[in-house]
Amino acid sequence: MPMEGAEIAALIKAGIPDAEVEMTDLAGDGDHWSARVVAPSFAGMPRVKQHQAVYAALGGRMGGVLHALQLTTAVPK
């Protein structure tokens, strides 16, 4: 079962409360998502740590039910 974009965004926000999450359905099939996660709390974190924070919020689904999540992270300008 593919995951809904809203469900993915909700999980990310639950793990990173100050995050703004923007989901894009890349293939139009509800299974290949792109997420842009912007959070003030990412400030000072290397990119790898920012991505790891998102993966942690997804609680092990990444690489499992969520195969294809293209991820970009940023600190708000």
Partner: protein, 112 residues
Amino acid sequence: MTDDTNARIDAVVKNNPVVLFMKGTPLFPQCGFSSRAVAILERLGVAFESVDVLQDQAIRQGIKGYSDWPTIPQLYVGGEFVGGSDIMMEMYESGELAALFQNAGAATAEAK
């Protein structure tokens, strides 16, 4: 993950300046994300070692714990984990990846 797998991964990572753990081979990548990672490295003309995780289940699982990173591909430069294909793309576009290879003394040739 067994200590043996961890030691095998560690040896590959530490003994090669640039290593890409991927699905498939550079010539025949088996996943779009791995294919993208290879394309970036080839564009930068960097010499790299690749490990096909589909050929080794222990490494396929072990590499995720090694770097605390849930997905493949994974790029290592100078023994350090750099990121997956999204981070590679961001760093490629910003020029950081080319700078990283230069600093690491990785063999590069400008792609024609």
